[in-house]
């Protein structure tokens, strides 16, 4: 049996029945990495030796994750293990502490740290300072981003599941483009302690998995209030697996007209409309809704995210940790360090944010964007008065060719057009596979994602709908040929 193909709950069952040993599981996953990683390049660091060394300790924890190899995006601090953020700035950074989300994954075995767009800024992983990750379905295409390494590692079966982070779609968009399940929790649901900050009012950690059940399982483990993150919400955490398998008869599914736009890929539109039809056949009630400020989301996001980034990344000054490049005086040292340590996209966003926050422009850009954020948030509040879940495409198109958008930042930014509003409003959303688009010339078909958006702290509802859809379809069973 190819153990590496399985998800968390399937491996757990085999381990509990003693049909396989924990060492079999590690052997399977690391031999899979050895055979496909050269093609996919999902990881910055593979932690194979440590995984075997730690296995006994992991099993002693005796948890649901005991002995199960997971991949972690390389912007989450793992104590004693290099954490780079895919940046030259942190190329040799070894965190002296563990972040909260990963410390809650008690018993898991780290398979490795996955590649991302530098500081999570990007939609293709092409902004990694080290290498570009490939889409396992078609190696000439990008896996999405910024959690492209985590999504590709899950799709290529180089791990059993993974964690990513999502600031404007960075879990959901790569999950959609790689044909796996990605969930961005409600803002405040999962602690950000130890997540290297990009835009603090938007960043959120979440699971990238092979199926919806595993997503719920990981949500049970990583969620909950944390005194070390003052923005983490002091709300109780339900059992997210409890709603799985419940029927969705009478569930009201909002379909926002603003998410089916001219210029979007027809195959994506058709697949998502078919998915809504499938939900309807399961008893859900589709209702057209409007989120009228959708077209302003990308502009709002790039003002706010860049502003927060320019402030957060001021800490990389060559003094406390990370790269230092000497100069003739202190200011010169700062400038040389930051010029050498940051890549072009990070510089672009720092400058954009600095400009938006600078004297004379603050009101016109930053404050204006904060006000539009209020309008976007109200759109969702209004829609959720009449529906339980909102269904949209996760991305406007399937995975694009490497290099296709690198010259034009604005074009790249627009690939987040359907995911960004969710972060601005702080609501949870999940992407599940809902079809494949065939390509010309016999090339492999490419996955399409359905996004289901929920009310604040109602992850169980989107998980319930996603699970009902998944169980009624076969998309999640397909795997790329590698």
């Amino acid at each position: 049996m190819e153990l590496f193909r399985l998800g968390i709950h399937e491996i757990r069952e085999l381990l509990d029945k003693k049909e396989v040993s924990p060492k079999d599981v590690l052997d399977s996953v690391f031999s899979r990495i050895a055979s496909v990683e050269e093609k996919v390049k999902a990881f910055v660091t593979v932690t194979k030796d440590r995984a075997y060394d730690m296995l006994d300790d992991a099993l002693a924890e005796n948890t649901i994750l005991s002995g199960i190899p997971l991949a972690i995006k390389d912007n989450m601090c793992t104590k004693g293990i290099r954490t780079t953020c895919s940046s030259r700035m942190l190329e040799n950074f070894i965190p002296p502490y563990e972040g909260t989300a990963t410390s809650r994954l008690r018993g898991y075995v780290l398979a490795g740290k996955t590649n991302l767009d530098e500081f999570a800024m990007g939609s293709s992983t092409e902004n990694s300072a080290f290498h570009t990750t490939k889409n396992p379905w078609d190696l000439s295409r990008i896996p999405g981003g910024s959690s492209g390494g985590s999504a590709a590692a899950v799709a290529a079966d180089e791990c059993i599941a993974a964690l990513g982070s999502d600031t404007g779609g960075s879990i959901r968009q790569p999950a959609a483009l790689c044909g796996v399940v990605g969930l961005k929790p409600t803002y405040g649901r999962v602690s950000r302690y130890g997540l290297i900050a990009f835009a603090s009012s938007l960043d959120q950690i979440g699971p990238i998995t092979k199926n919806v059940r595993d997503s719920a399982l990981l949500m049970n483990i990583i969620s909950g209030h944390d005194p070390l993150d003052s923005t983490s919400a002091p709300v109780t955490v339900p059992d997210f697996t409890a709603s799985l398998g419940r029927h969705i008869k009478g569930l009201k599914i909002g379909v926002p007209k603003e998410y089916f736009i001219e210029g979007m890929d027809r195959k994506v539109e058709n697949a998502v409309r078919d998915a809504v039809g499938k939900l309807e056949s399961l008893g859900a009630i589709p209702i057209e809704v409007s989120l009228p400020h959708t077209e302003y989301a990308v502009a709002t996001y790039y003002v706010l995210a860049a502003s927060e980034a320019s402030s957060n990344l001021a800490r990389y000054d060559g003094v406390k940790y990370g790269l230092r490049v000497e100069g003739k005086d202190l200011i010169d040292m700062y400038m040389n360090t930051r010029a050498a340590g940051f890549g072009p996209e990070v510089k672009r966003r720092i400058m954009l944010g600095t400009y938006a926050l600078s004297s004379g422009y603050y009101e016109a850009y930053y404050r204006k964007a904060q006000q539009v954020r209020t309008l976007i948030k109200r759109d969702f509040e209004e829609a959720f008065k009449t529906v339980d879940v909102i269904a949209t495409p996760t991305a406007p198109e399937v995975a694009f060719q490497a290099g296709e958008k690198t010259e034009d930042p604005l074009k790249m930014y627009l690939s987040d057009i359907f995911t960004i509003s969710v972060n601005l409003a702080g609501v949870p959303a999940i992407s599940v596979p809902c079809g494949f688009a065939s390509q010309e010339g016999g090339a492999a078909s490419l996955p399409i994602g359905l996004q289901l958006i929920g009310k604040h702290f109602h992850e169980q509802t989107i998980l319930q709908a996603a699970y009902a859809y998944e169980q009624a379809t076969d998309w999640h069973k397909r795997r790329p040929e590698l």
Partner: protein, 94 residues
């Protein structure tokens, strides 16, 4: 439109050095993005409260109780330059 002089100014504020040959590229890229952002001005936002945060948490307090923290040797381990228990930086005062 962002001009070369502005790119230099913003870079300075951002503590970045932009090589001469990249300045034109940043001018046009930043101009394009800012031009796109101008669409926000089509919206009348008079009287709309700004949102800085989506969940209603204010003044999060914790008990004034000491808890373990990183020992200096650990906190300093990633420092590019250090001496004893201190970070070392280039001389600031003449």
């Amino acid at each position: 439109m962002i001009e070369k002089k502005q790119v230099e100014h913003i870079a300075r504020l951002s503590r970045l050095v932009i090589p001469e040959e990249e300045k034109e590229m940043f001018c046009s890229q930043l101009s394009n993005v800012l031009k796109y952002m101008e669409k926000l001005n089509r919206l009348d936002t008079k009287g709309i409260e700004p949102t800085s945060h989506v969940i209603d948490l204010v003044n999060v307090m914790r008990g004034d109780a000491p808890s373990p923290s990183l020992p200096p040797s650990e906190a300093l381990r990633n420092a590019p330059d250090r001496t004893e228990k201190f970070y070392r930086v280039p001389k600031i005062i003449e």
